[in-house]
């Protein structure tokens, strides 16, 4: 069953892409992540032009984060004030990122930049998560009490000026690290085609020390709005959002996510984190492999401006 994509300008097999959306949706539902870091490389490896893959994936992340964000909001797990501060940074980062995508495409270094971003960020996050989950599992086996949050500890972050009170998070910290974090995530979202949950969640927990239940809701809130903005920016700047492809991925993704969420409930937190870390590292290695191993074709073609 083939369908011709209007923006990617190529025919694709709908069933394959539905299946891809479903498989990634399943994993993202199970681990509670957006799945952009899996979907974007998958799309690129299946022949979708990288810029279109990234623009389209932003739209798909909107779909996969909206229901979660609403559910969290109803459970009063969203710190709106912190979300808005994050969002301010996020939109700045996103505008910057979309602009850089444009520049890099003209220079012919876009794919290299994306690959490096993937290797670096997935490598760091994956390794940290792997170590943390292994430690937790070992401690759990030896019977020690595990606590992720260690309140009362202060770092340099708490010494910065421009302090704000975030009631729901029970925090009184500077707005600067929050804005910077938002900007980094927005920037990466725009260039890597990811929601950035895998960066923002650990950063909020370990750097800002936001309570875990508020972290998930607030990060979803931020991701929802930043990826919406990114989708619109990519449409305007690069014309690289393929609605047809996005819809195929969404259908597969939202259904897969529901089953994934149920499967995830069967596993312990540290087991989930261990599996997720393994997955993240696999993707990281896969992207790194392409950078390091001599390609079978050294030449590549591209048109002068934009995707056409």
């Amino acid at each position: 069953m083939n369908l011709y994509l209007p923006i990617a300008e190529m025919p694709v097999n709908v069933l394959i892409f539905l299946g891809m959306g479903g498989a990634v949706g399943f994993l993202s539902g199970m681990f509670g992540v957006g799945g952009g870091f899996l979907m974007t490389p998958l799309l690129i490896f299946s022949g979708i032009p990288p810029a279109v893959a990234i623009g389209t994936e932003a739209a798909q992340i909107v779909a996969s984060s909206v229901s979660g964000a609403i559910a969290q909001y109803q459970r009063r797990n969203v710190d709106i004030k912190m979300g808005i501060v994050l969002l301010t940074g996020g939109i700045i980062g996103s505008i910057l990122g979309v602009q850089i995508v444009k520049e890099l495409r003209q220079l012919g270094q876009f794919e290299l930049f994306v690959s490096l971003a993937y290797v670096i960020f997935l490598g760091i996050i994956g390794s940290l998560m792997m170590i943390e989950s292994l430690n937790t599992m070992r401690k759990a086996r030896s019977g020690a009490v595990v606590s992720a949050r260690r309140p009362g500890q202060h770092s340099w972050i708490h010494g910065l000026p421009l302090k704000m009170r975030f009631h729901r998070s029970k925090l009184y910290i500077s707005a600067i690290p929050v804005i910077v974090l938002g900007a980094i995530v927005g920037f990466l979202g725009a260039i890597m085609g990811v929601g950035g949950g895998f960066i923002i969640v650990p950063a909020m927990i370990y750097l800002l020390r936001v309570p875990t239940n508020v972290v998930v809701g607030t990060s979803l809130f931020q991701i929802l709005f930043v990826t919406s903005a990114t989708t619109i920016l990519h449409s305007v700047q690069n014309h690289t959002v393929d609605i047809v492809l996005a819809m195929i991925l969404m259908i597969g993704g939202v259904i897969g996510a529901q089953f994934g969420a149920v499967a995830g409930e069967k596993l312990k937190g540290e087991q989930l984190r261990f599996l997720l870390a393994g997955l993240v590292l696999l993707v990281c290695l896969r992207v790194a492999w392409n950078l390091v191993v001599m390609p079978s074709e050294l030449y590549s073609l591209s048109s002068i401006v934009g995707g056409h």
């Binding site: 739209a59 989708t231 939202v254 529901q258 390609p295 590549s300």
Partner: protein
């Protein structure tokens, strides 16, 4: 007959039972179905998919489907396609409206209609400019006439490539039979030309990075050559160079600034990279025995436009050779244009990008809400 009634009764009973049991399935049933072994199985399947992808390092083959359609052409299919378009005795009237390949959609929106209208007008202008480009060698009596089985190819959401037939006739043919082989015909199909950059990777500190690049001025987006015999047997490279006939002779010129930087051998390897990569995508094709004489003067060749063929005008340049000498030349064109939903969405994305982006977000929000409404009903 009582037997048949009984069977019918039984079937109806079965159908209603099945229907009732389907209706009984609720979202929480689906959730509970995901317990234990099923969840493990689904997880396993997902991991297998990821593993296959991770291990599949070289198998990046987006145009397999395009190549699959390059199968051998059956004569019956070609004749059928040729009969669809009345064969004109003379070069077709350039003012004639381009034939619509699809019946008009019942729900033809105003925007869609206007898009098609302007597209058709553009196509008409291009066709008019191309029409009647008959070139004749004064030393010979023969001339060549040519047309294409269709004037326009509609790129719709179901587009998966299309076969076109280029056919023509040799005027004042001296050939006694098609087997005599007095004439050679070369048909070159060429898409719109555009600037293209070829980049070469080299190893920098262990990473494969684009380092050198050459910009080429006018690269055909699509190029297919079909001839009665391999072209080396037909004429000399000098003629092929002059007319851009054959992969080695396509006029692809590097930008002067880039040409000055590199040696001729390097430039040649960049030039070859374009042809190799385009051929790999199925966009450059060779059919050394694709043109066939049917009668003393009538010839035809069928060409499969691949699914990834770039949108725009494809020009069919036809050359008639006798004894290695080019004696006549003629040109026909086919317009590839987006139609229906495809045209609507593409022009929407490029003409109203802000609205398009907002629509994409709205669809995404709608899909997310719909999914959570469907799946959360009854659960928790």
């Amino acid at each position: 007959m009582p037997g048949r009634d009984q069977i019918r009764q039984k079937f109806r009973q079965r159908f209603e039972d099945a229907n009732r049991s389907i209706r009984k399935i609720k979202p929480q049933d689906l959730r509970s179905a995901m317990s234990g072994r099923n969840a493990a199985f689904a997880l396993g399947a997902a991991v297998v998919v990821i593993l296959i992808w991770v291990l599949n390092t070289g198998g990046n083959d987006p145009d397999a489907s395009a190549r699959r359609q390059m199968g051998a052409s059956s004569p019956a299919a070609i004749m059928e396609e040729m009969s669809k378009t009345a064969m004109p005795a003379e070069q077709a009237d350039p003012a004639a409206p381009a034939k619509k390949a699809e019946p008009a959609d019942a729900q033809h929106s105003a925007l869609e209609a206007s898009v098609e209208k302007t597209e058709q007008e553009k196509a008409e202008r291009r066709r008019a400019a191309l029409a009647d480009r008959t070139v004749q060698n004064p030393n010979f009596d023969e001339s060549v006439e040519v047309d294409i089985s269709t004037r326009s190819v509609a790129i719709t959401s179901g587009f998966s490539g299309q076969r076109i037939v280029v056919f023509g006739a040799v005027h004042n043919s001296l050939q006694a039979s098609p087997q005599q082989g007095l004439y050679d015909v070369v048909v070159v199909l060429e898409g719109a030309k555009s600037k293209l950059i070829s980049r070469r990777k080299s190893n920098v500190a262990g990473l494969w990075i684009n380092t050198q690049s050459v910009e080429f001025e006018s690269v055909p987006s699509y190029y297919t050559i079909s001839s009665t015999r391999p072209i080396v047997e037909i004429s000399t490279p000098r003629v092929f160079d002059e007319y851009g006939i054959g992969f080695q002779h396509i006029r692809i010129e590097p930008r002067a600034a880039d040409a000055a930087k590199l040696g001729p051998a390097e430039l040649q390897s960049f030039r070859e990279s374009i042809i190799r990569l385009k051929a790999g995508e199925g966009l450059y094709q060779r059919r050394p025995t694709g043109v066939e004489f049917i009668g003393r003067s009538l010839f035809r060749t069928s060409i499969d436009l691949p699914a990834n063929v770039p949108i725009g005008t494809v020009v069919a340049r036809t050359y008639l050779f006798r004894d290695a000498e080019l004696i006549a030349e003629n040109t026909a064109a086919v317009e590839l244009q987006r139609q229906g939903l495809e045209a609507l969405m593409h022009s929407f994305a490029f003409d109203y990008p802000l609205l398009y982006g907002m629509l994409a977000v709205a669809i995404a929000v709608g899909a997310g809400l719909a999914a959570s409404a469907v799946f959360s009903r009854g659960a928790h």
